[in-house]
Symmetry: D2
Subunit: 367 residues, 4 copies
């Protein structure tokens, strides 16, 4: 397989190229009985749509989702759900000059090396449009998690050098600025920074943080399919991600054990709890009842108008200036992608967890 399948139980297969006829996803393993329509999915896609602000590409990309199977009388039937978005704004001519030239920071060279050639139009399979399938499936996973009382929220923690400390988070700010940042002042500075980037024909990166709340204790499988390991794969598989942290992440490596350990305590209801959350809600690869916290570092958009040195497919040195409509930063549009991948990961591990214990199995079948 060429790696376009994710998950073991709630299993998705994405397909489609940026400038092909359509892009889509098939979900195999969605349980029957979930009320579902395009209205559950479209709002997720709209969050990753281009043209939302001056900091996102103005391409008029159609993202009207259609459901082709797996729903009957408004509910999922338990059979595969096929979702499709037809591509419309396919100005392939914009890309003809890129057929033989390798864009720095992109997958052009590695695709050609692996497959012999590539669909060079708009990045082909490695276009950001590939995430449409992830987000559409993630919307469904999120709806199921919601029925289980679990919520997932991602936001922009940093754009370039402008980062927000947890003590300055105002979660109700997230949807009030085009960068999805939980602090209005930092968002403003980040916007100015991005305007500078654009003027200088350059681009920026950033950091997205994601919080998963109300997960039952024990989700994740010890050893290779730990919750943190599976989340790391899911998040690192998003185009521009170069690092993933759980809880205190890198800073845990320079702390002392006595600082980093979270003491167990009893909450006001007498339930087992932790007095701090350095662990980021995961112990031994399983959810520990606290908020799961992860961060992903996104590199700056590689498509820049500034002149760059590169080579052609035939191995000749050349220079390149990538004109056209490109996001100066992809982070704001990636927020919903991080949320979607987290939802897909968590739901899949919750299904897996249902076989952990003989009592649970006996109860299920004695219903």
């Amino acid at each position: 397989m060429s790696g376009s399948i994710f998950g073991n139980h709630f299993r998705i297969t994405t397909w489609g190229e940026s400038h092909g006829p359509a892009i889509g996803v098939v979900i195999d393993g969605c349980p029957a009985g979930l009320a579902l329509s395009t209205e559950d999915i479209q709002p997720f896609l709209d969050r990753r749509k281009p043209g939302q602000s001056k900091y996102t590409t103005k391409r008029n990309e159609s993202e009207q989702i259609q459901i082709l199977s797996g729903i009957f009388e408004g509910k999922t039937t338990g059979t595969p759900i096929s979702l499709i978005v037809y591509n419309q704004d396919q100005r392939s001519k914009d890309y003809k000059n890129l057929a033989a030239t390798y864009r720095p920071g992109h997958a052009d060279y590695t695709f050609d090396a692996k497959y012999g050639f590539r669909d060079y139009r708009g990045g082909g399979r490695s276009s950001g449009r590939e995430t449409i399938g992830r987000v559409a499936a993630g919307a469904i996973a999120s709806k199921i998690l919601h029925t289980l009382g679990i919520t997932i929220q991602a936001y922009t923690k940093a754009i370039g050098p402008y980062s927000i400390a947890p003590s300055d988070y105002h979660f109700d700010e997230i949807n009030r600025n085009p960068l999805y940042m939980p602090n209005a002042q930092t968002a403003k500075k980040a916007e100015e920074f991005l305007s500078d980037c654009m003027e200088q024909q350059d681009s920026a990166g950033g950091v997205i943080e994601c919080r998963i709340e109300h997960l039952p204790v024990g989700i994740g499988e010890p050893v290779f399919s730990k919750l943190d390991a599976t989340l790391a794969k899911a998040i690192m598989s998003i185009g521009a991600v170069k690092a993933v942290e759980i809880g205190d992440g890198f800073s845990a490596s320079s702390a002392l054990g006595s600082q980093n350990n979270d003491a167990f305590c009893l909450d006001k209801n007498g339930h087992i709890s932790k007095s701090t959350n350095h662990s980021g809600g995961i112990l031994g690869g399983m959810s520990d009842g606290d908020t799961v916290i992860l961060r992903a570092a996104f590199k700056p958009t590689p498509s820049i108008a500034k002149v760059q040195n590169t080579v052609t497919k035939q191995g000749e040195a050349t220079t390149l200036s990538i004109t056209g409509r490109h996001d100066p930063v992809i982070v704001p549009r990636a927020v919903v992608v991080v949320e979607s991948m987290a939802a897909l990961t968590v739901l899949d591990l919750m299904f897996s967890n249902m076989h952990s214990n003989l009592d649970g199995i006996l109860n299920f079948y004695k219903k």
Copy 2:
């Protein structure tokens, strides 16, 4: 499955608890014709063995590997290879007092929540001894990669706050100090720091870096099974890892596109190359011909003698001081574990890559 299987083609299943009769691994998918004996595997295990220095536990853990299947007349036969290490120093009594008390920073609570109870002796399945199976299988994967001209080397980049900048790396120092650090001076400071930690009944963490050299271009599958994503899962699945970076990692998120992009150029042989390696050898989820560089952040050992607040299984507040033999830092012993997980990941994706191209398949079967 409970998550003890890793890989799709060179697939390993690890098993065993710290204080059970034995620990082992089965490899399904090792190609036939590889010369193999315990002498290829034992040196890898010896690198993770306790008692190598004052900074590792003095437990006398037996780690003599035995091969139970899959070898005939000194060569692999293509059938499953079963490897076993019998446990010997099983002082279970040391752990009786831990049966009902949850150690902060450990998996005790999450195991009990998921499975109802746990083998509490020495950490049971979540003991560091679980990595014996990973390292034994990793030794075989490494040997195959070696025949393909690919080398993998990990080392300690940082212990607590003592970190080495790439410009100060001296790779020939790595095996000359007990911490596997590529700089003698920093290693010495780190040793002093660890002595302090031990005096204060505390523990430390650190950072391991890993370099994969001479990988062909195009290894890794676009979308979900990217080389970086698969490495991230593999490395994050190691016990105490809280973060993974590829190439510039987190610092890429605050760089400009013009700084972070690696210009393509031609090397002295006229082959396509890159003038810098911010990407860490991976573009679009596939190896780009440059050195693959990853870093993993390890949290401090959670077992400390300092008194900690915690709770019992029955939900009563208590305090705990973990005495006995524990590593003040697990990073040096984890170096070979990182190398092993990287080897397993890379080899698996190299097998997968063999089906990428019709020409390759035709050549294979026309031999």
Copy 3:
């Protein structure tokens, strides 16, 4: 997952219901560089299309295949191939009366029991139309096998009690009669038998045989993924199949060892061969160089106009006469489905076989 994914390397996901908007398949793992257009696929679909003869349903089912991804400039790119057929003749009203009544021999009751309800229109997911995805993917697998010199041919060995002995096979007859039988006389008798069935508002079953020629020796993995075991699953997963045989099949169970063993000999070129083929081309789960032969028994079409006793979803006894357009026998239309499933199985195991031997891997990467 709900079981709509087949294969490990050349992996297909089918989706779609009989009366939904469309039906399709996504192939993940098709190698790059294969010349491919709808003209390679449509002829396969046309062989399973209804309305080919008086013995197949006269429903005007549209089966125009479209390619939505994975092809660029006429060749596969190595990325997922999404294939779609839009449904057109959706006379859902024909089925309204079946919503609450369980058709004997059909999956109505089991679907309801498993999922709580079902898309009852035209059989929903368990309709024969589900095989469209299999056949479309099988056409691509067959084309790849063809480039490797491997051919697969299925045909109707028996309809009801009319069966053809191997000594009476005339392979050039297969495409000259509407039943795809390799003997004109038996085909004629079978047609008369089917006419009788139709007059009596009844239906018939039959046997399909499939021959795979020129497979290299050694395809199939010992133990659980044997070639015969994987073929058995693939073929038994086709709707109405109730039995699968390899080589002599059931009659081998009453033979003596001295009769059933195939002596090895040397062919005219001095190559190792077998003097007989009781094994059906498979020894120890791997292809032995001889023609692979398998047979599948199909039960009679369960949809019959004759009055049957049954129950409603609410648990009330009732009677049922299934009117409308139904095949009196599905065997002729299933011939291409058997061929397709065999092609998908063989290709997948040929990919898996590429990692069997260290020499093969070294050669591949030293190219």
Copy 4:
């Protein structure tokens, strides 16, 4: 992978060669909380042990099972269970002459072709001893199924030409004769037939039937992972099996629809039932509440003392007489293997079924 892994949720990996140091299996995915000791497993292994009667080889094969992991205080912990049987009677010299000669009906030639060479001692990996791992794991699956009220029983329906009709079954006879046949008279005739075979240095095959009772309705996944398809793979993966039938099997292909359809009716408790069971308990790939019935055809033991024509590895014609201790028929010892593979298949699909329905998931997590 080389195909030694079976199942998706209750996943087993078998390993070991006939004359290697040991043979074993690792189970990943056994739920926690099952009381388990070797006494649950040994009786299953004793049923496949050689030397039980004059019709089975007199080799003194040790089959004392040991549990190496996954059990604590008498119960499964949810972590991998490693089971091992040490080999003892390794008279490798018996097999030296077979190193270069291909035994007809065996896997010698195909192993050499695939892997370049093979462990020729006692059949190596393709020995019947490979089933030890299947049976040991099957014993555990059976115990779990038993707690769920599900029973599985296999028996010998036919030896050579001596077959028992369902109307002549006496299930209490099964364990009273060495052939595990449900009819004393036929068993006696079959024993005489086997004695003749042995005198004439020949061997025999037979048919095993298996019944699965009290399975809930809806087990099995539509399309590719149907219950019948998955059972077919499981059973066909047993060494000498050449055919698998479900319910009426091949005879369904010559029946009329009106004969083969099972009318639905109401049982005395008013529950939905079927008035006949031609379907063998499976409709649309899912259990229909009736007894699941399958049959497997075993070819005659290929190892015979009679002189056979064959070739050497070097491609020279020769003759071969296989002396030593071989079963004249493997069917009686394979009865428990069929039972074990059926148990593993059913349990795995029961786990998979737990995610089918949103209500079931909600109930599970609201406990």
